[in-house]
Amino acid sequence: MNRFVLKHGTQSLFALLCLLVLVFFLARLTGDPTDLYLPMDASIEQRAEFAASHGFDDPVVVQFGRYLAGVMRFDFGDSLFQGRPAIDAVLAAFPVTLKLAGVTMALSLVLAIVIGSLAAWRPRSIFDRVASMLTIASASAPDFWVAIVAILVFAVSLGWLPTSGMGSPAHWIMPVGVLMFRPLGLLTQVVRAAMIGALAAPYVKTARAKGAGKSRIIFVHGLRNAMLTVITVAGDQAATLINGAVVVETVFGWPGIGNLMIQAIQQRDFAVLQACILMTAFAIFFMNVLIDIAYSRLDPRVRTS
């Protein structure tokens, strides 16, 4: 397992470096933050002076060299706007997103497995059709729109839930609900397809010939095999969940990494943006390792080869 992580690690490190170069240069192509930071009435001299004092007038390559040197010392630079180390801002925001994404993913997985398995047991049944239709439909709505409508309906009109923010469990319902739409829709479809495949597999016949009952066939024989496909897709989904998190965090005012990244991009707060990227890329790498481990736990064929 160590060698496996090491191999992934070096590959990912390379990818990470490429990504960093890409974002570093791309971000600087979007203009420097001087104009955004200084008030509109600042003079040309003040602008030049500001840019010089923060090194924005150096060639980008020089800036990159300086940045890399910093990263080597675990110094990820200071946030221009927040006046604190960028890494502090990221470390404060990251757990929020992690919790949001974690709860969302866990719930979607559980629901997807239940709905998808039941739908797969009798394909084309009424339950299957309705479940498929609803889950596909749920993945087809613009999430920010759903989020705002949900606030107006559930918080304002009905008063059942708080509009936004974090805190009590009730605060989680809408953000998680909205964020769940996409992965739940997709995962249910994947579980269903994988389960149909698994239930049509020859070993299920063997199990039936042994006298195994329905639940044993679905959950012991089918699900374990279907999970191989499901966790791969779930991994990809978890990685793209941050897209939805950007929107959900913005609407519901959650101080997560999606929110932070958007703000950093808009403000050209490069240090924060880069730290966010490193953090997410690292998280995605870590998750891929976890998935690989889960995969090898689930599938003995991977373990031995």
């Binding site: 063997t206 006298g211 599938d299």
Partner: protein, 545 residues
Amino acid sequence: MHEPKPLLEIDRLSVDFPAPDGLFSAVRDVSITIAPSEALAIIGESGSGKSVTANAVMGLLDAPPARVHGDVRFEGRSLFSMPDRQRRDLWGRRIAMVFQDPLTHLNPVYPVGWQVTEVCRIHGMARTEADRRAMELLDRVGIPDVRRRMGDFPHEFSGGQRQRVMIAMAMALSPDLLIADEPTTALDVTVQAQILDLLRDLRTESGMALMMITHDLGVAADIAERVVVMRRGEIVEEGALDRVFAAPVHPYTRQLLTDRSEEYRSARPGVAPAVLELDRVGVHYGTFEAVRDVTVTLRKGEILGIVGESGSGKSSLASAILKLRRPSSGNIRFHGRDIYALGREEETGFHRGVQAIFQDPFSSLNPRMTVLKVISEPWLLHRDVLPRDRWRGRAAELLDMVGLTESDLDKYPAEFSGGQRQRIAIARALALEPEVIVCDEAVSALDMTVQAQVITLLADLRTRLGLSYVFIAHDLTLIRKFADHVLVMKAGDVVEQGVAEEVFSRPSALYTRQLIASSPVPDPRRQAERRTARRRTLVHASTAP
């Protein structure tokens, strides 16, 4: 002949499937009875309905879309009308089943020990008791080092061992009836012989009844007491083993038996010029040595048979000949020129002169190409052979030559049966008028009758076109019937080579003798003698170093 109280009665069973054009009737009005302790073989080719019948008995057909009529009774109780719970109680405990492909029929994510104990657990045995029983069973079916291997997964076992595990699973609760659906088809002949022996021994010990589904008359001859011959969903002949094999009534049964009869051919003297020469050829996959030091010559008009079990390196050798895999040592010469050191033009000449037909009729044709496109592809690659406006005409001629018609040109491979697809593959191979065709298990996946037809076609083409074949097969009977010169391979080595008839009638290598002995013949009496003889050889072999 029939026992007074039958164990299993299949009573006017019919199974229909919905098809694009109405209903497809897979089994029609089939009635079969099995007495306690009786061994019955259901013989048939693909599409005969033999497997559907077995699956219907076990209730393994998906209720829609399959429509099942008639009844199946076990000890007089209808399996179809009894409650699900009662039926599930019978499965695994009273009636057990063994399937054809043990790899896919074992759950890949659970240890084999767990899978054997599962039967016991389902039927209420305590965990420790079930574990003990599983260990005992696996040991009985011949899995070595059981205690350690209980925790291993199916993919960590060889094909034969997997089938042994399946059998252990089926025998777990000493069932009264074992349904075995082609249990040895996916296995090598030597392993097949061992499995058949195991089944026989187990039956003797436990006194259970056996319903064996097989396409192989030799297998039936080996194990059955009574046979049922099925064709296109119906029973064409039924009777005691000896009677059916000795005096078949139905023409179809007779045809089956003649197709499998042994015909010796006289080898041609090696005077024709050499076309293909292999000189100390070795093939490696990484550090694994698939083929070692093969030296052989193929002469014009000759058929070189290469026989061996899985892992013998015969297909790797074919790849080397076809320039699909560069040999790690030695060289291969086509008309005296090393095929891996050819100039541009010689290269073209080689690709025209050597063609191939592969095993799987389902994957050897691109499913998205019409037959015309398949056959004319060689001309697309070698543009000087034939002007485009003559492609259609020539393709039609080729189709005619392999027994298909011009109207088939615009169809897609999916619209043909396996045998027809192999004919199309042959037509494609003939398109460039080659000198050598490498047939890598070209007929192994086909039914016996179809196999016979394709072989006849190949033989005929040789005579007409002066072709040479490299004919690779695991089926001894085929090689024996077809090849002039034969190469017996085992684990990458050539253990014996020579003129076919000599090799078969007077095998010098122990392994060749084992192969011949293991290959079942469709003659109950001879098969019984051979079995006795084989067991002696096997004992001898296992004590040999």
